[in-house]
Symmetry: D2
Subunit: 148 residues, 4 copies
């Protein structure tokens, strides 16, 4: 069970804007991709396990800090790790680096579990206990001092 | 019941690409917006009448022809009209013009009605007869010779 | 010169995800639209004044907090105001409300001015003094205690 | 020099719509990705060779035909091949298949070469002769009868 899962993407032309660089909301989309890969590498398939099981993992908060621009055809490595896990929420951290290893952006997403039908928050341990038991085994890498 | 419904959009920064112009798939997205407005202006609300009613109107074919580029903050007028209507399908035509009235793009979408749960094609008159009756009253503007 | 500019959007089908609600990065895109409208209502046209003038206003940080979901065809009012302004940076705040006035999301973007060709940070007062003089007259609404 | 280049993509959550399937304009975006990969596998880098060289390859026409839906986390194989090549234009064909090899969609894009600064059509052999010479060596796979 890897603590950090790295997704490698090639920047798409359509992800860039008239400034010639990646349009900033695209990084927030990349966080979704990296988060789903983190789960998959740890044995949880978002579509089969959450979506089809009636649970939506909504985003309650997102932040992203941009340090270096990327452009079309550049390689981006997006690493994701889980920093908090509870019956009602998840917190992930992400780092985007370029091919040379320079930090291009970093960010965080906070999540709640909601009933897919009503969009109401649920306690996952009660709502889908089997899924919760699997989730509870995910590796957590808490933030250290400098990362807060 | 208007035969042609025009939706006016202001080009978004995020709809443009590194060439500084609207990224071409954005026009296909605009067709969706224009189509939903056409329906709404004719009394049919896509979300309430189709989606919540268990019918998905999928796109089976799309084409778009580009004549003049648009860039961020430009105004685009997207006109939509229905050119064919049947129990199993719909065909729409679109024209995009700029503020001066120049034709920037035109295109067509063809659609099938599918059961939202199974994604299988349905005969709307059987599957949702009330909705079909309302749809059957939509104004149709068949293509003339030069438009084929 | 309005301190707060409200942009009214109709949620697009393509802005929503399989959970049936607006995909969260779309709000970050809406912030861009609202910010450009804030500037325009205050006499500054992003494309003509910044982009064509060789200045790119990059985003250095973004945050968004989600409170209530929106879905396709819903109306969203996105208000934008400028909370900090300097020769090297800008800070904007946004609030998204639905048709009933409920707060759906709020967020912040922080920006730097960069040379469009080199992407290097510039002091706008030196790099484009005429533009800076106009910008310096924008109405600022600093955050109050509860908003930090 | 491969005649057909296949790009394998994992469907992104953000590429799907409230019907739970890939939003149809996303396929048009995939065609761009597949086209750039076709060029790259044949030794031409779009950003370095075209964009930075002052040539934009605009899309003049696009069509896409949808046969089978895909959803998030599905694998899509997008094959691209060049079917026409001239001093003023290019035509590409694409096929999208799922993991089992079923045809999900197919389409075509037609392109013109334009001067990046003026957006005016150019004869590539005159405008950028070195690039044209390299392009002229690309493998062409003309359409056969049944594909027209």
């Amino acid at each position: 069970m890897p603590e950090r899962v790295v997704t490698t993407l090639e920047v798409r032309w359509g992800e860039c804007d008239p400034a010639g660089i990646v349009y900033h909301p695209s990084y927030v989309d990349w966080f979704s991709i990296a988060r789903m890969h983190f789960l998959k590498e740890n044995g949880i398939h978002y579509m089969a396990d959450f979506h089809d099981g009636g649970v939506t993992v909504v985003v309650t908060d997102v932040s992203c800090h941009y340090r270096k621009a990327l452009r079309a055809e550049d390689i981006a490595h997006v690493s994701a790790r889980l920093v908090e896990l509870g019956r009602t929420r998840l917190v992930f951290r992400y780092e985007v680096t370029n091919e040379r290893g320079d930090l291009c952006a970093w960010g965080e997403t906070r999540h709640a579990f909601v009933d897919r039908d009503t969009l109401r928050p649920v306690n996952l341990a009660k709502f889908a206990s089997g899924l919760w038991e699997r989730l509870a085994q995910l590796p957590i890498s808490p933030l250290d001092e400098g990362e807060r």
